[in-house]
């Protein structure tokens, strides 16, 4: 999104966006105008939803309405939506809450390409006595359902697989996996943080689905877990009876209202083929820019999120390339944002069999709903120039 982009939000993130082509939507998205307005309104609605007086009940009504809107996005009944402090908390509640309700026994199956939230939960569970199997992806970035099946045991309680990977965009076969998990009598969790607002979630048969508002135009620090009525988790946060005893604490009303408004704004896009086509057009267009370069490799094979483009540029360091682009007004990441600043190569690419050097040579471009073809051209041209420049600096450019 640049100054040329026609769709400008009124009270959104204009000031910043106008100077930048922002292609880091997988890290976080600008607040939509609808969400900004909803947050602003909710800030005025200040009663405690647990108070019985009029101001409290007004807050309660706003909370209930938001719950219905989020339920429409994630699927499931209103009372199957648990509001959380973000995607990570939702994932923690799903994984650790499930095992805590079983006194920490049983077997967890998950994958090597999960987000740090999923992997760290798995590590914490393992430290506390849960058996954990971690399934590797295929070289194209996808988890093979047969490998999940092979990892499952009689005492498998839960299988957790992400809907699409945040670094590569690879869409995982979660429907097939859910089917085999349910056939085996186990529970299924899907980390849909990267797909919420981009792919429909209501058809997901999983028992638990995690989402995070700031990935689909809502505010940071709020998320939700779709938790099937038949499944009980032990709360991460104990205390008052908020969220039907599943998450204590006065509710983040502005955050929740913002998330609900973003969800409502995203819903029509989900059913709009033109939106999908637009994203695919952007992807193809960006990759075409790179045709003039040697040594360019796209990490994930199909099926993949059109929005997320993970590319390695030989002889270039991804973080340095990102810095050059930043200086040229183009915001991208090397991989997951919470990985930024660390030197070790991406665990996702490593699990796919990508070497450390090529992993470090990787850049992630992630488009959003308001990204234009002009934005893509600016980013594409800047990237080609930057790759050439850095190859010149390292003396590895063809002479």
């Amino acid at each position: 999104m640049t100054t040329r982009s026609p769709a400008r939000s009124e009270c959104g993130a204009d000031d910043q966006l106008s100077e930048f082509v922002y292609l880091d939507h997988a890290a976080t998205t600008p607040l939509t105008a609808e969400a900004a307005a909803a947050v602003g309104d909710a800030l005025r609605l200040f009663g405690n939803p647990s108070s019985r007086h009029t101001l409290g009940q007004a807050a309660r009504d706003a909370l209930d309405e938001a719950r219905a809107q989020v339920a429409a996005l994630v699927g499931g009944a209103d009372d199957e939506v648990v509001f959380t402090g973000g995607g990570s908390e939702a994932i923690n509640l799903a994984l650790r809450g499930t095992f805590a309700a079983r006194r920490g026994t049983g077997h967890l199956v998950t994958t090597a390409i999960e987000h740090a939230a999923g992997l760290e939960c798995a590590a914490a569970l393992r430290r506390n006595g849960v058996d954990v199997s971690i399934v590797a992806p295929e070289p194209g970035g996808h988890v093979d359902p047969a490998r999940i099946a092979a990892a499952m045991r009689a005492d498998t309680v839960l299988v957790s697989v992400m809907h699409a990977n945040n670094e590569t965009g690879a869409i995982q076969p979660v429907d097939e996996i859910t089917e085999l998990v349910h056939a085996a009598g186990a529970l299924m969790h899907v980390d849909a943080v990267q797909t919420a607002g981009k792919l429909p979630l209501d058809a997901l048969g999983a028992d638990m689905v995690s989402v995070s508002a700031h990935k689909f135009g809502g505010p940071k620090g709020v998320g939700a877990l779709r938790l099937a009525a038949h499944h009980r988790v032990e709360p991460l946060i104990c205390g008052g009876g908020q969220e039907a005893g599943r998450r204590a604490g006065t509710e983040n009303l502005p955050g929740v209202r913002g998330m609900a408004a973003a969800a409502a704004a995203a819903l029509p896009r989900l059913r709009d083929p033109r939106h999908r086509e637009h994203q695919w057009r952007l992807r193809t267009r960006l990759l075409r820019h790179f045709d003039v370069l040697d040594g360019v490799r796209v990490h994930a094979t199909n099926p993949v999120m059109a929005e997320t483009i993970s590319v390695a540029f030989d002889h270039v360091r991804g973080d340095t390339l990102a810095d050059v682009l930043d200086l040229n007004g183009v915001c991208v990441s090397t991989g997951s944002a919470c990985h930024a600043g660390r030197d070790d190569p991406s665990h996702v690419l490593t699990a796919m069999g990508v070497g450390a050097d090529q992993a470090r040579a990787t850049l992630r471009f992630s488009a959003g709903p308001a990204t234009t073809e002009d934005d893509i051209d600016v980013a594409g041209r800047a990237t080609v120039a930057a790759v050439r420049q850095l190859r010149r600096v390292s003396g590895t450019a063809p002479r």
């Binding site: 030989d314 360091r317 810095d323 930043d326 050097d357 010149r392 600096v393 390292s394 003396g395 590895t396």
Partner: protein
């Protein structure tokens, strides 16, 4: 690039003395085995021990590229003897400051400068090219 000083941004954006001198009087190369960053200096030294020409090539983080450029700008026209004073602290100062996780970049820069002096004194040369492994 809020994490970088104006000097670092300047040298990163407009690298000085980029390239490699064919048949240079001296070549110095260092690489950091942990992060993999590499700097190659090639220089000509005049009769009065003054560095009359110097070029760099570098592979690594933004700060190491900038420091390599800064290094050549600093060294160019200086007597080799003065380079022994060019330690990491001095380079960091010249760079206008470095973030904590970038400090080791200054050490890499100081290393390659000292190596340049020593190689020249010993009449030795580093033949390692920059290698980006992929």
């Amino acid at each position: 690039m809020g994490r970088f000083s104006a000097t670092v941004v300047d040298h990163f954006t407009n690298p000085r003395n980029l390239g490699e001198i064919d048949d240079a009087d001296v070549r110095a190369f260092v690489g950091n085995p942990v992060c993999g960053d590499q700097i190659l200096l090639t220089a000509n030294v005049a009769a009065d021990d003054v560095v009359s020409d110097i070029r760099f090539q570098a592979f690594g983080c933004s700060a190491s590229l900038a420091v390599a450029s800064l290094l050549t700008a600093t060294i160019h026209g200086s007597p080799l003897g003065e380079l022994t004073d060019l330690d990491a602290a001095r380079l960091e100062e010249l760079a206008g400051g470095l973030a904590p996780d970038q400090r080791h970049v200054a050490a890499l820069g100081a290393d390659v400068a000292h190596r340049l002096v020593n190689n020249f004194r010993r009449g030795a040369n580093d033949d390692d090219p920059i290698s980006c492994s992929v």
